[in-house]
Amino acid sequence: MSADPKVQDRIVYDLQEVSQRYNSTTALDSVSLTITSGEILAIVGPSGSGKSTLLRILAGAQRPSTGHVMIRGRMLRDYSPTTLRELRAATGFIHQDHRLVPGLRVSQNVLLGRLGQSSLMASWRSFLFPSRSELLEAHEVLERVGIEEKLFERSDRLSGGQQQRVAIARALYQAPCTLLADEPIASLDPIRSRDILKLLTEVAAERGLTLVLSMHDLALAREFCPRLIGLRHGQVDFDKSSSDVTQTDLDQLYRLEGKERIEDRAIQG
């Protein structure tokens, strides 16, 4: 499959035996995977399995200890500060805690999405005196996430779910090629989780974005993402299309062992 030149061209991320160690702990252990343009996939796995580290590497926010990371046809280590800035500007990153700048209006937070594409002077101008077209564009992305009426509201006065929507709107305003979302629904209730996932996957499909999510909820991941990658102790446990993922795969992924199990027994006993 990978011999097909068309597929080769469409590969956005190509990781070969990527490992990440922090002092004595291993966050990622020889991970290899490829992601093609326009794919929608979820990385699932228990806490501490290396999901966040993997996403940070894909975002160009971190270099792994060893292994090859190819992003858009260029090795991560070959990115210069300038091209790295371009890479980040083309990558939307949504966090579990929305990470909006407190005290700013929703419109300002959305317009900050293009910082990576503007000079300091230009960003001051758009921060203090947003043009009509910029505000219209901000309104448009807010409309897409369903809270356009909050355009001039203070960001920190919105609810958690609304703030997550603003974060998504900011990522859309950024007009990226890839959307990475690190546990975007971890702090939301089930109904809002479903809404946010629906929104993310729909938007990605509409705009042809590559979408990589990390999450805990397997049922939701299977429902919304055609491809699942199971991560366990920093290793790829499975990498299948959602329909092929079996109950055994999932049980394996979340089983407790060693010390974890002993603690588990102590709680039960």
């Binding site: 975002a59 160009g60 926010a61 971190q62 270099r63 500060p81 790295l84 800035r85 371009e86 890479l87 980040r88 500007a89 990558t91 939307g92 990153f93 966090h95 805690d97 990470r99 909006l100 700048v101 407190p102 005290g103 700013l104 300002q108 900050l112 999405g113 910082l115 990576g116 594409q117 300091l120 960003s123 001051w124 921060f127 974060a167 900011r170 990522a171 950024q174």
Partner: protein, 295 residues
């Protein structure tokens, strides 16, 4: 579990807070003894002078108590009070503007967090030098400068400037502005460093440069606190500006001192009442404003 017998012999543990409190009280008491302080020293040598001063509180003067001037210039004390209070406010406002500028520059340079940048883009030897040597040096220098400026009280600055440049209004403004810039710089830097870093990291992830992260991530997050603190410093600047009058600058302190020296106590009380009123009004105004900023 310790047995009761075991607990019996043990003294009650005092702890660090207890020791600090005890030693503070002991040092204070020792200082009183050393200075030979005694309440008897409050008994006035000239009881009638105190009596006259206190009695004057009930009859503040609007006209001059100077028999030569008398009623020749009507309401001269009231005019002086308004003029002096106006100048007090103007001196405070002019100095604070200068110290906000200075404090912001100092705070910006002293904020060490933004010099750090992120490791992935700071890999070349030059960038590493910038991140590990130049940045921390600038930050430490700015912090030391801020400390030096504010460790000298504004009254000392006023004495120095008077000796060097005479009593022009600019020297008075500078005397206030320098130590205030030091204080603001230190506090601004602390507020900027302690402002939540997650929003800044998110901006970094979408390609913002170091300066963009500072101006659009750190600064807005710390801005309400910085504003509230600056308002509080305006109250302090007013009090200092009033006292600056003792050195000849035309603030309320100048008139207060003159009337005091002439023993025109009713005039003194007019000026004091004016000052009380001004401070009270500004406190109330800035208090309300600060509460609104906090939400």
């Amino acid at each position: 579990m310790r047995s009761k017998a075991e607990l019996k012999g043990k003294p009650f543990p005092v702890g660090i807070r207890g020791w600090v409190l005890i030693s503070a009280i002991l040092v204070g008491l020792w200082a009183w003894l050393y200075l030979g302080l005694s309440p008897r020293q409050l008994l006035p040598g000239d009881a009638s002078s105190i009596g006259r001063f206190l009695a004057a509180a009930l009859s503040p003067a609007l006209d001059s108590q100077d028999p030569g001037l008398g009623e020749a210039v009507r309401y001269i004390v009231l005019q002086n009070a308004l003029h002096g209070l106006g100048r007090t406010v103007l001196f405070a406002a002019a100095s604070l503007l200068l110290s906000i500028l200075g404090g912001f520059v100092l705070g910006f340079l002293a904020t060490s967090t933004w010099w750090a940048g992120d490791t992935i883009t700071s890999r070349g030897p030059l960038r590493r030098l910038l991140r590990q040597v130049f940045g921390p040096t600038v930050s430490a220098t700015a912090k030391i400068l801020a400390t030096l400026l504010r460790s000298v009280h504004e009254l000392f600055w006023a004495l120095i400037f008077l000796a060097a440049f005479g009593s022009g209004p600019l020297t008075g403004v500078l005397a206030l502005a320098l130590p205030f810039a030091g204080t603001l710089g230190k506090i601004y830097a602390e507020m900027l460093e302690e402002s939540p870093s997650a929003p800044s990291k998110a901006l970094r992830d979408l390609g913002a440069t170091r300066l963009q992260v500072f101006f659009f991530g750190r600064l807005p997050a710390a801005f309400p606190d910085m504003m509230a603190y600056t308002l509080y410093r305006f109250e302090c600047a007013l009090r200092s500006s009033a006292v600056l009058g003792f050195f000849g600058y035309p603030t309320i302190g100048y008139f207060l001192k003159l009337s005091f020296e002439n023993l025109y106590y009713s005039e003194v009380w007019t000026y004091l009442y004016g000052l009380f009123l001004l401070i009270f009004l500004v406190d109330a105004w800035s208090g309300t404003l600060r509460r609104r900023l906090a939400t």
